[in-house]
């Protein structure tokens, strides 16, 4: 069982008896943020803001510091636009709602799709999956097993087929069937491989031949244990596919996923989901307050 000790309570002890925030407290804060993969630049920015507030407000005790920290960090995180669905509802006039899932190798794209399908189905939506990873060994088999597990249909072609053609088929079939949600899986690819990133742009493009504003959502999946390289991933996948939302996976481990703070700070992309396990129930809608809290918790 994980035991959590709030970092804030640790800070609390560190400054017990002091009436203001001093350098030692800020050092502790720096350590907590950097150790959560927030990165040096974003950490320095957060600390500077806190320092400014400390100077301005003169006396700042622990309880105010806690509140301030939560505020400053939550402010960095971007909210998902109001027009987008909450709780697996689909925005009006966007049926079928097409989601394209992208990311580097092994981050959890296919698993996240299984979980999304489960949640949409539970919310009463008809879902169709598209197996556009025709490259990785047994990738189609993997998504097929997920489709069976959740009980939703899948469109697939043999391994090695053109992924853009699978995406096209899937959207076409989804329109014909009157599906509510279409989710397209893609092969993992490292963002520095130009031809693979071009292929992704192409997969995206073919879909709007059938539905002009499809895909409605490009979901970039990030592994929660990834360090600063996630920033470069966000940058390059956005350049190739205009990423509109993030999912952070594997937050059931000890990694904190703090790099999304840096990403939010630099690219203004909202985090929509977090993955907390390998089962289909293990997907949560991102909650800012909980996330900020977890950045400062110590897990064993």
């Amino acid at each position: 069982q994980k035991t959590k000790e709030s970092f804030l309570s640790k800070i609390g002890r560190a400054i017990a008896g002091k009436s203001t925030v001093d350098a030692e407290v800020l050092d502790n804060l720096e350590e907590a943020l950097v150790s959560a993969d927030v990165g040096v630049d974003t950490t320095v920015r957060i600390i500077e803001r806190i320092e400014d507030r400390v100077k301005r407000d003169k006396f700042l005790g622990t309880s105010e510091l806690n509140r301030l920290l939560q505020e400053e960090i939550a402010n960095i995180l971007v909210d998902a636009p109001q027009t987008e669905y909450r709780d697996f509802e689909i925005p009006p006039g966007k049926k079928p709602y097409v989601i394209m899932v992208v990311g580097v190798n092994g981050v959890g794209k296919t698993t996240t799709i299984g979980k999304l399908a489960y949640n949409f189905k539970k919310a009463g939506k008809s879902v169709l999956l598209g197996a556009a990873d025709t490259f990785r060994a047994a990738a189609v088999d993997q998504l097929t097993i997920w489709s069976e597990r959740v009980g939703v249909p899948i469109v697939k072609q043999p391994m090695g087929s053109d992924p853009a053609s699978v995406a096209f088929d899937t959207v076409q079939s989804g329109v014909a069937k009157g599906a509510d949600v279409i989710i397209i899986d893609t092969a993992g690819r490292l963002h520095n491989k130009i031809h693979l990133m071009d292929e992704l742009s192409k997969i995206k493009r073919v879909m709007n031949k059938i539905i002009p504003d499809a895909p409605h959502e490009v979901l970039l999946v990030l592994d929660g244990s990834t360090g600063q390289n996630a920033l470069e991933q966000a940058k390059q996948f956005t350049a190739a596919t205009e990423v509109s939302a993030l999912a952070i996976t594997k937050l059931d481990g000890t990694a904190k996923g703090g790099v999304v703070l840096a990403i939010a700070n630099n690219f203004k992309i909202p985090v929509k989901y977090i993955g907390v396990g390998e089962k289909m129930e293990d997907l949560q809608i991102f909650d800012k307050v909980e996330f900020v809290d977890s950045l400062f918790s110590l897990k064993n």
């Binding site: 994980k2 350590e31 950097v34 150790s35 959560a36 993969d37 990165g39 040096v40 630049d41 580097v104 190798n105 092994g106 981050v107 959890g108 299984g114 490259f135 990785r136 060994a137 047994a138 990738a139 088999d141 993997q142 097929t144 097993i145 997920w146 597990r149 490292l190 963002h191 520095n192 491989k193 592994d223 244990s225 990834t226 360090g227 600063q228 390289n229 996630a230 920033l231 470069e232 940058k235 594997k250 059931d252 481990g253 000890t254 990694a255 904190k256 790099v259 630099n266 390998e278 897990k299 064993n300």
Partner: protein, 306 residues
């Protein structure tokens, strides 16, 4: 958007210019910048701190001679220290026992199954071995199919028991089969697991106890951030692994996790994986890794300009 290491250090080095010796005062900001650069390369925060303290101790009192700038001197000290930490020599896999049993373990999605295929291919084509791949992941959807596809691509046999839900038994049965078939290397792929997952960590420890492998390779994604320290330590505590495999180095990550892991568990990095194709396996070069973590392209230009 990444401030390059050279830009960072250049400012700090300027302050060293014109000084006779590296002293406590003039080295402080340089050390801070190096630490930040290491953290940006994903070296664990605490380790970066200890590392730069060591560098500082080495640097203090060093004479700054006119032939070499203080900047160059610092770079040299940092790089030498990094290379010596990463291990100066290459360490090979021990293939003497017959059969050699190799257990593969690591976090979810780190690249274990792909690496298993690569290793089998490497041993078959470069070491004239007759490997058997064992599908020990009974959880992930299509994990067995995935290994079978890889096995058929390289012409290596795969042992699996799709109906058996006991990974320990599968591993034991595989060894019997390997002995009967004359396979001289057995590579056991396992499911990905989190270090905090007690049940799963016990499973892999049980596999180890049952088959007594000569090599246990811990497979880790080179993009891993600060958490590498927890994971490496937890897997090592349970498995006492014999080597590390760094994957996905074909990306542009700086790979600071390599230093973190080496520093934390002091086990050799035996292979690096640089692509999805099965022939992209390389041995580990500490020198190259040190250069990568430091952004050596940067360093070279820095030295020219210093």
């Amino acid at each position: 958007m990444f401030e390059s290491l050279s830009e960072r250090l250049e400012g700090a080095f300027k302050q060293l210019k014109g000084e006779g010796r590296i002293s406590d005062i003039n080295v402080a900001s340089t050390v801070k910048e190096i630490r930040r650069a290491l953290v940006d390369a994903d070296v664990n925060y605490k380790i970066a701190k200890e590392f730069t303290d060591r560098v500082k101790d080495k640097a203090l009192g060093e004479k700054v001679i006119t032939a070499i700038s203080p900047g160059q001197l610092m770079v040299k000290i940092v790089k030498d220290e990094l290379v010596s930490l990463m291990g100066n020599t290459e360490v090979e896999v021990d293939l003497k026992p017959n059969p050699t049993i190799i257990l593969i373990a690591g976090l979810q999605g780190s690249g274990k199954t792909t690496f298993s295929g690569k290793l089998a291919n490497f041993l078959k084509t470069k070491k004239a071995k007759k490997p058997l791949l064992v599908a020990g992941d009974i959880y992930r959807p299509a994990a067995i199919d995935q290994l079978q596809v890889l096995g058929s691509q390289i012409g290596v046999e795969v042992y699996s028991e799709p109906e058996n839900k006991n990974a320990v038994e599968i591993a034991q049965n595989a060894i019997k089969q390997a002995k009967a078939n004359g396979n001289n290397v057995i590579i056991i792929d396992t499911a990905g697991r989190l270090a905090v997952d007690e049940v799963m960590m016990t499973e892999v420890a049980n596999i180890k106890a049952a088959v007594n492998p000569q090599e246990i390779l811990f497979v880790v994604d080179s993009m891993t951030g600060q958490d590498a320290v927890n994971t490496a330590k937890a897997f090592n505590d349970r498995l006492d692994f014999s080597g590390v495999v760094l994957t996905k180095l074909d990306g542009d990550t700086r790979g600071g996790a390599a230093l973190t892991i080496k520093y934390t568990v002091n086990k050799p990095i035996k292979f690096v994986s640089m692509g999805e194709k099965l022939d992209t396996l390389d041995v580990f070069y500490p020198e190259r890794m040190a250069q990568r973590i430091l952004g050596m392209g940067d360093i070279t230009t820095l030295v020219e300009r210093a």
